[in-house]
């Protein structure tokens, strides 16, 4: 899983490290499929992605994805954005499946189980789990607590809950107790590693064993 909506909240430095690390045959869960040359587009360009689950792959400059897709080199599972969020949340919260009204009667529900409940039609959708979530936040502490910046929050808090190992890049780390406990958006229990990325340097601020 990779957080971000458009360019806001995309953990570019973590993705760069992923490209450098050489991981391949990845399944990427993300709202978009990358635009321009950096971030997810760099993963696409390096041909590391076998499958992508997303809501909005096509963008003005999604040429790296477009080329892989047209060449049949990447498998696309298109999911309505709210169902994408709901399925990620279902994974994080331990549900087996959910009945969602979104997509009923459309191509994206073809072949899926449906049910009428209280006069309304629903589609059965299953959780999306991940081995790793790469997310971006504004500030973190050594327990892994995170706060975000504006609309860069988007998918990060729910992805952090749905992955076996969540790695967060933060712009700054603060000492324990500096974050208002009422304001913590992602409690540290959902974050296994924190990397502070400030300009060219980076430093690990939390490092917990992951089962992924």
């Amino acid at each position: 899983m990779i957080s971000g909506f458009g360019d806001a909240g995309v953990p570019n430095e973590l993705i760069d490290a992923l490209v450098e690390g050489g991981a391949t045959d990845l399944t990427v869960i993300c709202n978009n499929a990358g635009a321009g040359e950096t971030g997810i587009a760099a993963l696409m360009k390096a041909n590391r992605v076998r499958r992508i689950i997303c809501s909005f792959p096509r963008q003005a400059t999604s040429h790296h994805f477009d080329a892989r897709y047209r060449a049949g080199e990447i498998e696309l599972e298109l999911v309505p954005q709210g169902n994408l969020a709901a399925r990620i949340q279902a994974a994080g919260a331990g549900f087996g499946a959910i009945y969602t009204p979104t997509g009923f009667g459309t191509l994206l529900a073809e072949g899926k189980e449906t049910r009428e409940i209280e006069g309304r039609n629903y589609v059965l959708e299953y959780p999306i789990h991940a081995d790793f979530a790469l997310i971006k936040a504004r500030t973190g502490d050594r327990w892994g607590n995170l706060v975000y910046s504006k609309a860069a929050r988007n998918f990060a808090p729910i992805m952090a809950m749905a992955a076996k190992c969540t790695i967060a890049q933060v712009s700054e780390t603060v000492s324990l107790g500096s974050l208002d406990p009422e304001l913590v958006i992602t409690p540290g229990i959902f974050v296994q590693k924190i990397v502070e990325c400030a300009g060219p340097s980076s430093a690990v601020r939390k490092e917990e064993t992951c089962s992924a």
Binding site: F5, G9, S55, A85, G103, T106, L108
Partner: protein, 215 residues
Amino acid sequence: MQRLSRTAIAARVAKDIPEGAYVNLGIGLPTRVADFLPIERDIFLHSENGILGMGPAPAEDDVNWELINAGKQPVTLLAGGSFFHHGDSFAMIRGGHIDICVLGAFQVSVTGDLANWHTGAADAIPAVGGAMDLAIGAKRVMVMMELQTKSGESKLVETCSYPLTGVACVSRVYTDLAVFDVGPAGASVVEMVDGLTLDALQDMTQLDLKWAQGQ
């Protein structure tokens, strides 16, 4: 007969958005509706990427790329606005908390089916975004579009030929020639531009149209 410009359609939609409404404006043309919402009305704009209380575009030297709308354009936040994650944002949509959603469309059927995400072309790269959630989630879904395609075919249809976004979800359609109510009882005309007649409109759309109740 004078067709409404896109801007004029946006202004017409804005007239129907009441004080206190929570509103999501779809990407593209519907975004322009914001320009016509009267300042004296408290209207709360929602953006599915986690913003409530969205304000107008910022000055060029005040752009923050972490404060963008669903169309990825820079916006501002009004006093009283708030940020939240995608889960909560789509709970607002799917849970029926958004009063009005304004969307563009390829086609709308007389019973309110919406087609606005996919042309059905075999070589198109599909992308759906939040369209399907918005279509079935908002209390009231309004569509704004030109009534006819460039080749003169009606986009208000008996049955959509394009892949559906949602079933029986649209309640009103604003076009350059007329405003329609759609739903279980079929399509009816709320108003039309000067110089147009119901007969001419039926001819253009190939639909059996009547005036809406009370018009």
